[in-house]
């Protein structure tokens, strides 16, 4: 039985807000920063992005090449596993669909699973199906400005329908894999998939 917390009234959310919040989340107007270690600062001339197939074939974009790809403006709600959600965040980025079709022309084949790798060694795993058909981007702009380093700049993965640790900051590589392999937090007690609407926060949830 859930105990009542004596004297706790809480702050009821307006109805529209409540419907927009996944279970256990609350709305914040700020943009908290959470990272496991120091923020890497990769200069743009040294930055590139690689898509690598399971067979080892890969293709890469320099910053200038990446910035010349078709870009999209994205407005989405984001949900952090530490409980905060932020509504209507505005991003600019390149769709993963765009990157995959460019890579296909270079004979880089996709596989069912993807491991994103970042500067600093961070990794996270996402099924390919969660990155395609307009569901994910490599974002380089936030709120009309270049994405600041503490929020993952120069570029981060943006997968807004999953908990935000899946949206790897400082991303440098997407590696396609035939079998799933847990990333950093997924190996440290967090859920392998991370759907906020099913409250898949930790290993063993659902």
């Amino acid at each position: 039985m859930t105990p009542i917390s004596r004297g706790f009234r809480g702050r009821r959310q307006p109805e529209g807000t409540a419907a927009r919040l996944p279970p256990g989340q609350y709305e914040t107007r700020d943009f908290p920063v959470l990272s496991a270690g120091p923020t890497p600062h990769t200069p743009l001339p040294a930055w590139d992005l690689t898509l690598r197939g399971a067979d080892g074939k890969s293709t890469r974009w320099t910053w200038d090449e990446f910035a010349a790809l078709p870009r999209e403006k994205i407005t989405v709600d984001i949900h952090c596993v530490t409980k905060w959600s932020k509504f209507a965040t505005g991003w600019e980025g390149v769709s993963i669909d765009t990157l995959i079709s460019e890579a296909a022309a270079k004979e880089v084949k996709t596989s069912a699973y993807v491991l994103a790798r970042s500067d600093g060694g961070y990794t996270t795993n996402v099924p390919l199906a969660d990155l395609t058909n307009g569901k994910a981007w490599i974002a380089f702009g936030y709120g009309g400005s270049p994405l600041p380093p503490e929020h993952g700049g120069p570029a981060r993965l943006l997968v807004p329908h999953l908990y935000f640790w899946k949206s790897a900051k400082w991303v440098r590589e997407l590696r396609f894999m035939d079998t799933d392999s847990p990333g950093f937090w997924e190996s440290l007690g967090y859920h392998n998939y991370g759907d906020p609407w099913r409250e898949q926060r930790y290993s063993g949830d659902e």
């Binding site: 959470l34 899946k166 937090w185």
Partner: protein, 269 residues
């Protein structure tokens, strides 16, 4: 490091308040009895769930302040004026009340004596809480001769706004006084008592160069505090030659919605 992929679900547990004690004007320690608590590692946190009498619920994360071997689980919470949960925990909650806890959570920002040393801890404000769990665990372990004090030598650099805002001030002084392998260095950023001879500024490169174990000793480094402090300290330590992989961070704010919001948890954590 690796959690089993097929772990069982971490359950919500009913926690009963055993005692409450003020730490500073804005912070308070709440000690809970948690039947069935599976134990934790220093640095981990818990999810807290409050339920109003009409069924409304809300959740937050708080770092654990107690050492794993303590009989009860302690959280130290800072009151945030615009907070939904922290004013309740710091002002309303009293012995005998019940809330729900889920944990322990987080497997990265953790240290125990098996991790080894030397250990360099940097805290800002209520960011001291998970670091205190490490200090207490270390102290208890050494008291039972479970580790080598020199190899676990520890320095804590702790930034507070004022003397009266230093959380665990007396306990830290007491621990350092009886253990020459534990050094506690305070810096006060807003005001200092008359005759204060310690640091009186925000943590900077010079202060870190003076207080951190040299990078060549490969110290384990844990930094917890408000985002600007953590960004600055972690970046500066890398400049001073520390390996990024040995510098573990936990940031909170600018929402301050969590007293050390874990981290380790994540926005790509």
């Amino acid at each position: 490091m690796t959690a089993p992929p097929t772990a069982t679900r971490i359950p919500w547990r009913t926690a009963t308040v055993a005692s409450v004690a003020p730490e500073t004007a804005r912070t308070r320690t709440v000690v809970f009895d948690v039947p069935g608590w599976p134990g934790h590692r220093p640095g981990q946190h818990v999810d807290v769930r409050l339920t109003a009498d009409d069924g409304y619920q809300t959740e937050r994360s708080y770092s654990i302040a107690s050492a794993p071997n303590d009989a009860r689980l302690a959280l130290t919470v800072e009151r945030l004026d615009d907070g939904e949960v922290s004013p309740y925990l710091t002002e309303e909650l009293r012995a005998g009340d019940q809330i729900e806890l889920r944990g322990p959570i987080g497997g990265y920002f953790v240290w125990d004596i098996e991790t080894g040393g030397p250990l360099f801890l940097v805290g800002g404000g209520s960011g001291i809480v998970p670091l205190m769990a490490m200090v207490r665990h270390r102290h208890e372990s050494l008291a039972t001769a479970a580790g080598d004090a020199h190899s676990l030598r520890t320095r804590l650099l702790y930034s507070s706004r004022a003397w009266d805002e230093i959380i665990y001030r007396d306990e830290l002084a007491h621990l350092a006084a009886e253990d020459h392998t534990l050094e506690v260095v305070h810096t006060l950023t807003r005001s200092a008592p008359e005759g204060w001879s310690g640091f009186r500024r925000r943590i900077d490169k010079e202060m870190l160069a003076e207080t951190a174990w040299p990078a060549r000793e490969n110290p384990r480094v844990f930094v917890c505090g408000p985002t600007p402090l953590v960004e600055s300290v972690a970046g500066t330590l890398v400049e001073l030659g520390h390996q990024p992989a040995l510098v573990k961070t936990e940031r909170f704010g600018p929402t301050g919605s969590v007293t050390p919001q874990s981290t380790t948890t994540k926005e790509s954590k």
